[in-house]
């Protein structure tokens, strides 16, 4: 299955772009200056040879902020995606595998959470953890814990079809313990779906984190830069001062990076879908 993946043009292009952005974040933030350092002599300057992307209203180097922001946003995305995948596997996997009451409870729980509008709920919850002053880890955990329902649905339907297969029955009849069946028989077959779920959760988390930070409810902007904190133009957050709208160099690049990343993940995901989903397979 994974050798088919390499032959998918969509997957290769998407992955290449995603990896480029990851390297841009990691290596770029090593080479540039401190993204939080202010410089009153160069406040709100348009792009120049010294500051490639210009400076912020306090004279921060925006290129350095962009690199660090990309890295931090991806870090939060990966953490939150991991959390969401974990919850989805637990809720969407164990329930249907055990069947009976467990299945009903997990299914009802998923459908109840699914009806909740996610963003308003996140805005409320992020105020509890002290949005705007919280650590990146907390924000990631919060995003992960609210974005799992659709992923649980995906995994549930997979587990339900896997459960009926012959080799699982054989394993059960030969006296294998449940835990061993899950690890040696079900997991290897689920791996592809779990990867897909993780990748999509990651991109949702990156998008959500930027939105939360933008309205001042994300991680603490005075210690971490993310792509969202760079977009603090609306000044709706209590700690933020709105930047003037004429500073196009400050908000175009972070949004562009976000867009390119999300589009690349989407293309990568549809490439994976074509390979893993036999009904769509064309390679």
């Amino acid at each position: 299955m994974f050798d088919l993946l390499v032959r998918s043009r969509k997957f290769i292009i998407g992955t290449a772009v995603v990896l480029t952005i990851v390297f841009f974040g990691i290596i770029g933030s090593m080479l540039t200056r401190d993204p939080l350092q202010t410089n009153a002599y160069h406040a709100a300057e348009p792009p120049s040879s010294e500051f490639i992307l210009g400076t912020g209203d306090l004279g921060e180097d925006l290129f350095a902020q962009l690199c660090a922001g990309t890295r931090n946003s991806l870090l939060i995305g990966a953490l939150a995606g991991g959390f969401a995948t974990l919850v989805a596997v637990l809720v969407g996997g164990i329930g249907p595998y055990k069947g009976g009451l467990m299945d009903e409870i997990s299914n009802a729980f998923t459908s109840v959470v699914m009806v909740f509008p996610m963003l308003p709920l996140l805005i409320l919850l992020s105020a509890i953890i002290g949005g705007g002053r919280a650590s990146m880890f907390l924000v990631a955990a919060l995003i992960g814990l609210t974005t799992w329902p659709w992923a649980a649905r995906c995994i549930r339907s997979q587990v339900l079809t896997l459960k009926e297969r012959g080799f699982i029955d054989v394993a059960r009849m030969s006296g294998m313990k449940d835990r061993k069946i899950v690890i040696t028989e079900i997991m290897p077959n689920m791996l592809a779906y779990i990867i897909v779920v993780f990748v999509v959760s990651l991109s949702i988390a990156v998008l959500t984190e930027a939105g939360l930070s933008m309205i001042g409810l994300g991680p603490d902007p005075s210690s971490n830069v993310t792509l969202g904190t760079m977009l603090d133009f609306i000044g709706a957050g209590s700690t933020q001062v709105a930047l003037p709208w004429t500073m196009w160099w400050a908000f175009i690049p972070p949004g562009l990076i976000l867009t390119i990343f999300l589009v690349a993940v989407f293309i990568m995901h549809s490439g994976m879908d074509e390979v893993f989903n036999p009904r769509l397979r064309s390679v």
Binding site: M114, F116, P120, T259
Partner: protein
């Protein structure tokens, strides 16, 4: 879920409902009532778990220590916050069932009835959400079905555009539109619902003034949702065009137009189930877009209430949001039941 419906009480009601269409609606209604109960409990609990206290923010800064203590005690008693949490929870339900949402505690709406403030803001949010939901659904699906049918360079360009538009962060797109159309070319105003120092009334001039402010938030939401529908519909139609009944129809010599109409009808069903999730996303998106454009709706009010830790205003805004979402979901389910012949006629499936 099944166990709840197996309860003797439900079975006695359920037995009398014989038509599967009404059975379906009955089940959904019970489900949404449970969801509403859980949601309201959440909205009651979450503000009270937040750090910070709305009472402290209401006391004027120059008050002496003794006055501060007395004021705090009196205000807590006035808002019923000196009781224990279970007592407050019972109060909350008894007031809610009477339609009383309490009084505002934040500076802008001090001691104003929350229900009145929220009802004033609700039309502005509905004016954004409902047209965007329907117009986006129709235009997006129309474009998507067209894109599936056209071939060659144009199709690929359209496909890529729709992906690009649907994956773009909506708040950033709002900023770009604002920068281009409001700041650079000054076609539309940058923020607000009415021009500054304009006194709105129920006449044509205030309607036109609000209309000019309405265009940008509306366009932002519409373009983003249309992109999502279009890319979804394209892949669904392509999938249907590949299936057996279309190939059979083609061999029988049906015209392409006829075949496409068959494919479209099957492709639109999954899109309809997506309407639920899209509505939930749209409500969240509208909240943030309202903040970007300072549009005077529920979303802006909700954020201000969260920042001021105003328990009753948070309750009011999120309650109305949840109720809108739940009613919307219920309506979509009913519409789906009408569309799906298996549920409508009660045969097959």
């Amino acid at each position: 879920m099944k166990r709840i419906f197996a309860h003797p009480f439900f079975r006695s009601v359920y037995k009398k409902v014989t038509h599967p269409f009404f059975k379906f609606i009955f089940k959904k209604a019970i489900f949404y009532l449970i969801v509403a109960f859980i949601a309201l409990t959440f909205i009651f609990l979450i503000p009270r778990l937040m750090p910070g206290n709305p009472i402290d923010q209401m006391i004027p800064p120059g008050t002496t220590d003794v006055g501060r203590l007395r004021l705090r005690a009196e205000l807590s008693a006035y808002f019923g916050l000196n009781k224990t949490l279970p007592e407050q929870y019972i109060d909350f339900w008894s007031h809610l069932l009477k339609g009383n949402l309490g009084l505002g505690m934040m500076r802008q709406y001090n001691f104003m009835p929350v229900a009145k403030v929220v009802m004033e803001k609700l039309p502005y949010t509905i004016a954004l959400v409902v047209p965007v939901l329907f117009i986006g659904f129709f235009i997006g699906n129309w474009i998507g079905a067209r894109a599936a049918y056209t071939k060659g360079k144009l199709s690929e360009a359209g496909y890529f555009t729709s992906i690009f538009v649907s994956q773009m962060p909506f708040y950033w797109f709002a900023m770009v539109l604002l920068f281009l159309l409001a700041v650079n070319f000054k076609i539309f105003p940058t923020h607000g619902t009415f021009s500054p120092r304009f006194i709105p009334g129920l006449d044509l001039t205030s309607f036109l003034d609000a209309g000019r402010h309405y265009v940008l938030p509306f366009l932002t939401l519409l373009i983003i949702t249309t992109g999502g529908w279009a890319s979804g519909m394209r892949s669904m139609t392509l999938y249907e065009l590949d299936s057996g009944y279309i190939l059979y129809g083609r061999q029988l010599g049906f015209r392409n137009k006829k075949l496409l109409s068959y494919a479209k009808r099957n492709a639109i069903l999954p899109q309809f189930t997506g309407l639920n999730i899209n509505l939930n996303n749209l409500i969240g998106m509208t909240m943030i877009i309202e903040m970007v454009f300072q549009w005077n709706g529920l979303g802006l009010l909700a954020l201000q209430a969260v920042q001021a830790r105003d328990y009753f205003m948070i309750l009011g805004t999120f309650l109305v949001t949840m109720v809108v979402v739940i009613i919307g979901n219920f309506l979509v389910d009913i519409a789906y039941a009408f569309l799906d012949p298996r549920i409508r006629t009660g045969r097959g499936g």
